[in-house]
Symmetry: none
Subunit: 215 residues, 4 copies
Amino acid sequence: MQHARPLPAYLVNRYHGWKATIYTENRSWYRRLAEDGQHPRSMVISCCDSRVHVTAIFGADQGEFFIHRNIANLVPPFNPDGHHHGTSAAVEYAITGLKVAHLIVLGHSGCGGVEGCYNMCSGRAPELEESSSFVGRWMDILRPGYAALPEGDDATRKTALEKASVVISLENLMTFPFVKSAVESERLSIHGLWNDIGEGGLEAYDPQKESFYPI
Amino acid sequence: MQHARPLPAYLVNRYHGWKATIYTENRSWYRRLAEDGQHPRSMVISCCDSRVHVTAIFGADQGEFFIHRNIANLVPPFNPDGHHHGTSAAVEYAITGLKVAHLIVLGHSGCGGVEGCYNMCSGRAPELEESSSFVGRWMDILRPGYAALPEGDDATRKTALEKASVVISLENLMTFPFVKSAVESERLSIHGLWNDIGEGGLEAYDPQKESFYPI
Amino acid sequence: MQHARPLPAYLVNRYHGWKATIYTENRSWYRRLAEDGQHPRSMVISCCDSRVHVTAIFGADQGEFFIHRNIANLVPPFNPDGHHHGTSAAVEYAITGLKVAHLIVLGHSGCGGVEGCYNMCSGRAPELEESSSFVGRWMDILRPGYAALPEGDDATRKTALEKASVVISLENLMTFPFVKSAVESERLSIHGLWNDIGEGGLEAYDPQKESFYPI
Amino acid sequence: MQHARPLPAYLVNRYHGWKATIYTENRSWYRRLAEDGQHPRSMVISCCDSRVHVTAIFGADQGEFFIHRNIANLVPPFNPDGHHHGTSAAVEYAITGLKVAHLIVLGHSGCGGVEGCYNMCSGRAPELEESSSFVGRWMDILRPGYAALPEGDDATRKTALEKASVVISLENLMTFPFVKSAVESERLSIHGLWNDIGEGGLEAYDPQKESFYPI
């Protein structure tokens, strides 16, 4: 693997700073985490977007959240076809291995992946329709959400599609037998959230009203 | 989606605390991020493990790192077969869309996914060999790493396999045409790291020596 | 311009060393910065003093801070008289052009400019009172700070005047309509800091207590 | 000054990291700098641009460079009219107070200030012509450079104007009696440089050929 390069010096310096302060102050906890293993209470599925910061929002420290991050916080439907399924593997590991008590799907405003899906489905991004587009094929998971969008202006519909990405992921999660059985035996609760980046807002999905409300 | 439940109150409380303090103190930055979009310098691919905290280690705040997290920080080989590929989509988005300058693969000690792979390959976890095991099929990506392990005790070999998960991901990244071309035109540099959770250690991959060294 | 001389060889040598190492390791980032432009999160106004090193203190790399440095980190009051105003131009560019989210004024211990002002105002540096003294006329900005100093020994009063240079600059910043409006619409936050060079200390201005506290 | 806000937490953390590592390792030097004062060998005048990092390029540490940074690294002509002149004050302090041996003017590629001047002078930025524009009035210093540009495409002419900003600043420096006399008595040498951000290039002004050459 001859292409790997040294880490930029500013990150090396910052790491040394972290080691000398935050690590040192919390060494007993890090050692216990290493020796005793992780026991996270919750799994979070969020977007890769650099503006999403789930531990900060919830004041979480190392050990609390098992976090899977992918484009647009999507969960594909259950499909045990023997191929590599990174998201499904993460969910399986969290539910059957770690036995987390909560599974939170966290969407957000201004999601580039959702916008790509919106443009693709409305005919404005033909390059995403090509079979070689990984982003396009990944966002296919959200196509049913586009089909169900109400009329409206683009901005309103994109926000609605961001929230649909949360709901569709929750629905797809329930197609996994081990998720369904954990939910039905009340050993797992699932939650849908949407974060407004600019305003610091957080909305939760209300299954009765089939809509999101500010918490 | 009738199964969604309200967020646990302790998380609601912490969110309100964050909103009243950290968000409020940084509102101007969050608004700029929302209005101006993200311009992350680096992508990080790390494990979902709750003990890994890449922003803390590097003193990073929102906006700096585009983060993909999956089991064992694995990147599958390039395979544009039209199916859902969450990791490949995230890499494609970061390189061709965001044009990040660095791509860091971050492994860690005590990785449960790597341990599962080790047990599977050594015949101690037959359930992971089943075609219906998402974790098993995901960890297939790391099989070449197991095959190349030197002799030794289990603990040493597991650590070696954790580091192999970093190197194999870097190798697989180079099978993506857009990664290869960005690396070769010197618009992207790739980096391999391994974090010792308990000791707060950080080791970097040295391509000349084909081994990791403490930074 | 016949007076320009070749760069001293030791600087040429160091530059070549930087080019072969740090530049090469970060080439992808420098190219992205060149092609994509700068998106700094913050502007810093600090002193020209060779002992002040704002990027080091904050582990910052190229692209993070838009930095204006002048004698004693001063901002003059808003005065659009059509003349050259370097500090006002830098602030205008950062706020209205780059739309930075933070503006940090960083003072420091042992500031020679502040000491000159102190001596001038206390009658010990008549040469600075001359209209031809650029340093004296620049330090006039800080005269209101001297007038408001509490009684005490010279050393204590000089330190107080260094901190006053930060507070007066923050006050003068608010006389610029574009700063005031950005602060009031919560798209800009302003911060006052004072760095103790010898002890590596950092104090922040607390507007409630109207004093500085160690962070 | 009720508008000041606490420093963002990520900067506080990074500062503590710096204090625990780089500061601690260099405490003796910082204490000496505090007790003995600064004795910088050189003054550097560079742009505020976040991509310019003069200490990095020259491997410089605290204490080496007295650094003034403004938009487009400009020095206005000598004009002792009794008003605030931040750049002139910095030059006066460095030459007559610190008696630096070198004065380096460092320009750079992709300079937004220079581009603004170019657009203003070519009629494409009328807003910069208004008397209330601080950036426009500051960039007036560079108007003679625009007038002297050779024919060519915009990109070539902008780069030429960036280099002209260095030469004009050197010429203006020589209008200051204390600079002229220091240069003529060979107690000060002045240097013009231009940094290519993306390629890490550095070019120096050759007064014989009246052009820049790579060093």
